[in-house]
């Protein structure tokens, strides 16, 4: 294996031949380089997309700090090299290395992939290959790192089951320590056995070790069940959830080159109580936990001071629902007044109060104002449980144009369950009405940007039973939008290619059979699937054929009501019954209100009753648990000897 010095010498010869060599050298402010030889456990966190995108990922930085704050462990980072760099690395025999110490990934004890979206899967395989680590979990031995993965894509880990040793399901702040502690314990034994370590990992709450489970299929190709093959592995893996949010990170990496998002992101709240039925994040990040105004403002200030960034984003799934949003906005605008800072407050509700909030932040009007109605007809907004009356949307957009913004961005999705062409026509009508109203207020300079993506029914949501729209239907709907919206020069339309939507659907809804398809697609050259380049269809379609797997089985099939899903043994603690009931209500056009107003018993409280009891009151937005503490639920295995 090459030493860091050898890697650096080789790098010197190739870096000036690639675009943006600054991606591959590290040396950033707020990165941490610890003494390699004096540190017991070494962790490499990998974001499998290019540096420009990955370096600002908050999830990875949270874990990086968690590990580097320990005396006995270090964490370093790696990203996917762009194709020009990868070709030169392969040509010169340079394995993928971490930016901090330039050690090859294969030297680490633990490799942790962050997988926030599924289109990173082929990149993850490519990175293992580029690191000379066997791609399949079963081919790794005691000399190889343990390969774990986490992030929203772990909601359905099955398509990647063959490649990842262990998945961390849910929130990572606490489980990462359990994993590192377990690795330390087993690696310091006189005779380290990888298999014993994996068995121990499988016993950590929230950790899924796929090799200890077996999937049995019915004749129609759907699942009979997925069951553990060893007694130590739990039947159901329940996600991890941190009952009290740890302090926000402030030491963001400051890159020495231009990247996509140069900003400080402070998470003001985790989870969402709105219950939009299409939204996987809203279902899997429950319960809602808020940070206090003071904590957010102080963290933002500390982060701006430690980075010098010019943008601050106050992150959450639904900013308007943050209890003290008015106080927060007041405090932030006061604290950062005159500091030449752009402040963004994404995911605002469609109501005029949101315009007041943005007004208070005194932002440049040039950036445009974003609203996400997601569907354009009231009928459809009932189905997806994002109910807003048409008039409310019109009133809000009028308010935005009248306060000086000239551009409004409206986000929609097509392909919602039971959608007809009338619902798609409603997008056109709404856009035209918004722009017409805008012109009455501000004349011909007003602009509208309609971003229309295509819905993919995601695992562990009320829509997990429904089929994706077919390519033909999507193309017809997109043609309708283009035909009519292109007429108006003030309206800009963007959309998602149906091929990209299908890929996302296979990968997010797939079962274990998808693993071989992913492997073959990667062999056929698939990588950077989230990018608009590359030869996706040429790589993926033959891969499906090679393994006799029908892509439509994953995308265009309505699931039986009693179907066992590939992710049935993984739970975000929101019960299947609850999801199904919500799905039924959607079919009847019934809406469910914000669950802060009325608890619908999604399943979070019974699972995390103890955590709620220990954190009573306003920090969580679930009702308090008053029943006396019960003994520890013996179904869940506890880590230990």
């Amino acid at each position: 294996m090459l030493t860091p010095e050898q890697i650096e010498t080789k790098l010197d010869r190739i870096l000036l031949k690639v675009q943006k060599p600054g991606r591959y050298v590290g040396g950033e402010l707020n990165s941490t380089t610890k003494d390699w030889d004096k540190t017991q456990t070494r962790v490499a966190f990998v974001f499998p997309d290019i540096y420009d995108i990955g370096v600002s990922n908050v999830g990875l930085k949270i874990l990086y700090d968690q590990i580097n704050n320990r005396e006995d462990a270090l964490a370093e980072r790696a990203y996917a090299p762009w194709t020009d760099m990868e070709a030169l690395m392969r040509e010169n025999g340079i394995p993928l290395y971490t930016l901090e110490s330039k050690h090859a990934l294969a030297c680490f004890d633990l490799i942790g992939f962050t997988l926030p979206y599924e289109t990173l899967y082929t990149n993850a395989l490519n990175i293992l290959d580029l690191s000379n680590i066997p791609i399949r979990s079963v081919d790794r031995d005691e000399s190889h790192p343990i390969v774990i993965a986490g992030g929203h894509a772990a909601t359905n880990p099955e398509p990647m089951h063959a490649f990842i040793d262990a998945f961390a399901v849910g929130e990572g702040e606490e489980v990462i320590h359990d994993i590192v502690n377990t690795i330390q314990k087993y690696k310091s034994m006189p005779k380290y056995s990888r298999m014993d370590l994996l068995v121990a990992l499988a016993q950590i709450n929230g950790v899924y070790v796929p090799r200890f489970y077996e999937a049995t299929y019915l004749e129609d190709g759907t699942l009979a069940h997925t069951l553990p093959t060893i007694p130590e592995a739990p039947k159901i893996v329940t996600k991890r959830m941190v009952s009290k949010l740890p302090p926000p990170i402030t030491k963001f990496i400051v890159p020495n080159i231009e990247i996509v998002h140069n900003r400080v992101s402070v998470e003001i709240m985790r989870g969402c109580t709105r219950g939009c039925r299409f939204c996987q994040a809203g279902m899997i990040t429950r319960p809602v936990r808020e940070r206090g105004v003071q904590e957010v403002v102080d963290a933002a200030d500390a982060a701006i001071r430690s980075t010098g960034f010019e943008e601050l984003a106050l992150m959450s799934l639904s900013s308007s629902d943050y209890t003290d949003i008015q106080e927060l906005v007041d405090a932030v605008s006061k604290r950062f007044e005159g500091r030449k800072l752009t402040i963004s407050l994404p995911s605002l509700r469609i109501e005029s109060v949101s315009v007041d909030l943005m007004d208070k932040l005194k932002q440049h009007r040039s950036g445009g104002f974003t609203l996400a109605p997601e569907a354009a007809s009231e009928r459809m907004r009932r189905i997806i449980n994002k109910f807003i009356p048409d008039e409310e949307i019109i009133n809000t957009t009028r308010e935005i144009y009248s306060r000086g913004w000239t551009t409004i961005k409206l986000y929609f999705m097509i392909g919602h369950p039971s959608e007809t062409l009338e619902d798609v026509q409603a997008i056109v009508d709404l856009c035209q009405r918004v722009i017409a109203e805008g012109r009455k207020i501000a004349g011909w300079k007003v602009k509208l940007h309609a971003g229309v993506s295509t819905f993919v029914p995601k695992p562990q949501t009320p829509f997990q039973w429904v089929a994706c729209d077919t390519k033909e239907s999507v193309l017809e709907k997109q043609a309708l939008l283009k035909r009519q919206l292109y007429k108006d020069k003030s309206i800009k339309l963007s959309w998602t290619k149906p091929e990209d939507t299908m890929l996302e659907a296979w990968l997010s809804r797939g079962d274990r059979k998808m693993a071989e398809v992913i492997y073959s697609a990667w062999k056929n050259g698939a990588k950077f699937d989230a990018w608009d380049e590359g030869k996706k269809q040429e790589a993926w379609m033959p891969a499906f054929e090679e393994h006799g797997v029908d892509p439509a089985f994953y995308t265009h099939r309505q699931r039986r009501t009693d179907e066992v899903f590939p992710w049935e043994h993984i739970t975000a603690a929101v019960r299947k019954n609850f999801l199904f009931q919500d799905f039924r209500q959607s079919l009847e056009g019934q809406i469910r209100v914000d669950c802060r107003l009325n608890c619908f018993a999604c399943g979070i409280l019974p699972t995390f009753a103890n955590e709620r009891r220990e954190n009573p009151g306003e920090v969580w937005k679930c009702p308090d648990v008053k029943s006396p503490a019960q003994k520890i639920n013996m179904e869940l295995p506890v880590v230990g000897d």
């Binding site: 010197d12 000036l16 600054g22 590290g26 020495n256 080159i257 001071r305 010098g308 030449k340």
Partner: protein, 208 residues
């Protein structure tokens, strides 16, 4: 106040380009809580000017920039604050107050000196012969990005250094005026050395 800052740019920072360095310095000043002056207009720009762009991949022992601040501060204090706000590849060598009325820094640079270390063993006497030949020539016509120019008048000094241990490297001084800038990699090409196999460090900027 106008402040002249000299600094190094080494290690990973070799791969940070000129525009990115501007941005980096702006952020460093913000971290150091220095009251940078900004230009007027819709997109205010910080008043930071770097003396001479350093090509990507080169390190430097002596870069110079001027910044303008809205307040009078002690140069020693500015230096201390900046030192704690920069990535490890940049070290502050000096901070001094200069006259507001001095002409723009970029117009004052005359030439730059470089050290070129070869990553592959070289024959010292052969290299010396080539250097002499080059320095004797009347002109060195070269083409760069489709433009023809004469490299020879841009080379003010070029010499081979042979150390006692046999290690051979080059030292050169090249013109660095607006519109007349010699590039070390072009000199290497003229000597038949692949620039990929050399490490170039700028050691000094010479001002008017």
């Amino acid at each position: 106040m106008r402040v002249r800052i000299t600094f190094t740019k080494q290690g990973a920072l070799r791969y940070t380009g000129h525009l990115d360095l501007h941005r980096l310095m702006e952020r460093a000043a913000r971290r150091a809580e220095l009251p940078l002056s900004y230009s007027q207009g819709f997109h205010p720009q910080p008043k930071i000017s770097l003396a001479a762009a350093l090509p990507l991949g080169f390190s430097s022992r002596n870069e110079v920039m001027d910044i303008r601040l809205n307040e009078e501060l002690d140069p020693g204090d500015i230096s201390d604050r900046l030192k704690n706000s920069l990535p490890t590849g940049i070290q502050i060598l000096g901070v001094e107050k200069v006259e507001e009325t001095l002409p723009p820094l970029q117009t004052q640079v005359l030439s730059a000196t470089y050290e070129v270390h070869l990553m592959e063993p070289a024959d010292g006497s052969e290299l010396t012969r080539k250097v002499q030949e080059l320095m004797m020539s009347e002109s060195l016509p070269r083409e760069r990005r489709g433009k023809f120019y004469d490299l020879r008048p841009l080379i003010e000094m070029l010499s081979v250094v042979t150390e006692a241990n046999g290690k051979v490297w080059l030292r050169m001084t090249l013109a660095s005026r607006e519109g007349a800038t010699g590039r070390p990699d072009e000199v290497l090409f003229a000597l038949g050395i692949e620039p990929d196999t050399a490490r170039v460090e700028r050691t000094r900027l010479i001002f008017l």
